[in-house]
């Protein structure tokens, strides 16, 4: 502590107005699959919710630390073949952040910017769900290959921004991502455009997904079933949208809401599910999946109220109450469904503890939370025709497994800090490192410890020029 204070005492004192990072909003209770921002808390990260925010957050460079971009394809099947055969996929989250960043510059009445690496978790989730269940065998012992057979998720994403302020702040944000791998007959692409406006007491955005496609055609061998097949699978998104906005009722009281909807069609020509669903995969059978074409859709409704209270010039208290309903449908013969309804209450604080240090945190709990999911993770011993086993691990991690139940243990505490070095800020989460030092020190393990070795995690650095 003394060390921290002594180092900090030498730091320069400058404005703290330019907050900008996923870590800050995560510490204040953000709970969005794509970490795209919050309506009632102003932050640079909100540009991915409403690009018109570039008119507020510009003349800045940001770099969010993390590992390389496309995770889902690389690690989607890690763990298969081990006892239990759990299949998981890793997305961009606080424990394994993706490297990303960009620059935003004002020029006269206009603002432009470029941002690298902000691939969508939702897009990855849907493409993993659309992958042939035969990919489940990818790393299964004896399958003879270590290369992932997942459909490629978005990678090397480029976001361009252009906006202006003519009394009404506005901006557009075209998004482009594509890739190919001819060695596995794989191609993927994604195009979307975001647009938004911010007026004096309201804001609105429309984010359109114009196209999302991922396909592969490759050999999959399954020695346990004496199978070697050329498997062709495809995910094809139809037009998707994310429309929403907020309105200031009075003072800093704001109501907000959005509707997200994505539809898609997935096809899979793997013809041996009847055989492969009987294979024991590390202790359990069943991989889900279904030959042919299956339609899917994802819809999320969000409505809430939020406000902030200025304790003094530097310190704030935030609070919000919202209702969020998420429905996912996959039209297998045994239809896979997610029905998730939560009413989270969030209370957050942000305080300038020292000239060079801002601390923040939040507590979140569902006042109401239920789920009624079907055929999400009950592939064990089943005869297939449901969500594939890999996507099952991913969706279960976010929306829970099959069955109707109250969502338990929804109370979450997050905390973060900003170290200010003049116009240069280093944001991060704190309290997200396990208190145990037995073997490893894991990040995003909240066991109540303030660890000094991992001073911050999910770090972002910002320079405002």
């Amino acid at each position: 502590m003394k060390k921290l204070m002594m180092i900090g005492s030498a730091l320069l004192v400058l404005s703290s107005s330019a907050y900008a990072s996923q870590a800050r909003l995560l510490a204040l209770g953000m709970n969005e699959t794509d970490n795209e921002g919050m309506y009632h808390i102003s932050d640079e990260r909100n540009i991915f919710l409403n690009p018109a925010y570039i008119n507020i957050y510009n003349n800045m460079a940001i770099a969010e630390w993390g590992s390389v971009g496309s995770y889902a394809r690389v690690t989607a099947t890690s763990g298969l073949g081990t006892a239990g055969g759990t299949s998981t996929a890793t997305l961009n989250d606080a424990a394994s952040p993706k490297a990303q960043g960009g620059v935003f510059k004002k020029s006269g009445d206009f603002v432009y910017g470029v941002y690298f690496g902000n691939e969508s978790n939702t897009s990855s989730l849907l493409r993993v769900a659309g992958t042939s269940a035969a990919s489940t065998f990818d790393k299964f012992a004896g399958a003879g290959t270590v290369q992932s057979k997942m459909l490629s998720t978005a990678d090397n994403q480029l976001d361009l921004f252009f906006g202006g302020d003519n009394g009404l702040k506005w901006a557009v944000n075209p998004v482009l991502t594509f890739g190919k791998d001819e060695t596995r007959g794989a191609k993927d692409s994604g195009y979307s455009i975001r647009g938004g406006v911010i007026a004096s007491n309201w804001d609105a955005h429309l984010n359109l997904s114009l196209g999302s496609k991922s396909e592969a055609n490759e050999a999959i061998t399954i020695p346990a079933a004496a199978l070697a097949q050329q498997v062709s699978d495809e995910f094809k998104g139809s037009i998707g949208f994310h429309v929403g906005g907020s309105y200031i009722l009075s003072g800093k009281n704001r109501v907000f809401g959005y509707v997200k909807h994505y539809g898609w069609e997935q096809s899979d020509n793997f013809a041996s599910y009847a055989t492969t669903n009987a294979i024991n995969l590390g202790g359990s059978t069943g991989i889900g999946g279904q030959q042919g074409t299956v339609k899917g859709d994802f819809t999320s409704y969000y409505l809430g109220w939020g406000s902030e209270y200025d304790v003094n010039a530097n310190d704030k208290i935030f609070y919000s109450l919202a209702a969020k309903k998420t429905d996912i449908n996959l039209e297998f013969s045994n239809k896979s469904e997610v029905r998730n309804l939560i009413l989270p209450l969030t209370i957050g604080y942000e305080a300038q503890a020292l000239e060079w240090l801002t601390l923040r945190g939040s507590v979140v709990q569902n006042l109401w939370g239920t789920r009624d999911n079907k055929n999400i993770n009950n592939y064990t011993g089943a005869t297939g025709t449901r969500l594939n086993r890999v996507a099952s691990g991913l969706i279960t991690g976010i929306y829970g497994g099959s069955g109707k139940t109250t969502i338990s243990n929804s109370t979450k505490i997050n905390a973060g800090a900003t170290l200010k070095f003049g116009q240069f800020s280093v944001d991060g989460l704190i309290g997200a490192t396990s208190g145990s030092r037995a073997g490893t020190v894991g990040s995003n393990t909240n066991t109540g410890a303030l660890a000094f070795d991992n001073l911050e995690t999910a770090v972002a650095m910002t320079y405002k020029f």
Binding site: V68, Q100, S443, E456
Partner: protein, 365 residues
Amino acid sequence: MKKTLVIASLAVLSTSAFASKARMEALGQGDGYSRYIMDTRSVFLNPAMVNEQKNYIITEWGTANYDADTDAAPRAEGGFFREMGTFTYGLYLGNNDSRISHGAGFLDQTNGLDLFLGGDMGVKWGARVHYANAKDETNATNTATTKHNAFGLGLGAEMGDAEAYLNVDLADKSTGNGTVVGQGYESKMKPSYTLGGSYKFAGWSFFAEYDMSKLEEKTATTATTKDKTILVGAGRVHEINPTARLITDLSLKMNTNETAAGKVKTNSLPATLGMEVDATSWLVLRGSVAQNIIYGETKNAAGKKQTTPNSTTVNAGATLNFGKLKVDGMIGNTGSSRAAGTVGTKDGALTTDNLLTRVAVSYWF
């Protein structure tokens, strides 16, 4: 507490002299050199840069490790550069880079020695001579004596806004194989070179470079590896104010690697956005984000193309200024887990136990 006091007592000095591989990596200059950012590393690309970066000693921390040099296991090296009248000379130890690493069992480059001499006669010029020599008669598994020698020459000039350089490896030869019994085994670099230059215009540096390497390796069979890279691009160091710089570059890189298995072509269009800020009088922070823009793919020997995946990278670093002594390093380069192998792992953690990694210390006199 002592550490605290040391940090608190740092003197305030200019941060204009930067020098390290860590700095280059933090600013997204992946191969350890920049074609447009001034740094002591520039002398290995253009020896004429000894006229710009002089009167210092630098030590890059690491282990003696032949030609291997990674974030997780950096190679120990260092040297000094000094001005003498209108001339500058320098000596650098441990620069063991081979253009193409020799195969298993062959002795790699070790104990590399680089001598520099430069001058300013209206045109700034510089020359570098590289030498390395080694022999091993103690090999237990093979009675063959293994030998290695390398000799290279670098020439460069800088005139106004233009600069040019030529680095030639005249020899990089390893004879005798330590693990395979056989006569006449050798791994030999044919004369290979890097030719490049840049021109500053309207605040931008436009650069172009051609690099050609050829390695012939004789064991039971003879294998030849050819590697060619064409690089063209533009970069800019935009000084926002006297204490902050924005770094921007965009380049087209075309590489062809040819072995007995066939030709592999890798083309990319990487862009880098970086920043370097004098955060306090004693601390410089820097970082960058880089990604291939639209174009980035590899065509393998079978003619199949693959988009280069996961090209988005973020790097960060810091310099601690202790007066004339500067400690450079990378930050954010230690995994949040302290399990084996997590140094060199980027997963978004700011660690204080590994305060800096890939550390370099320089003293300017």
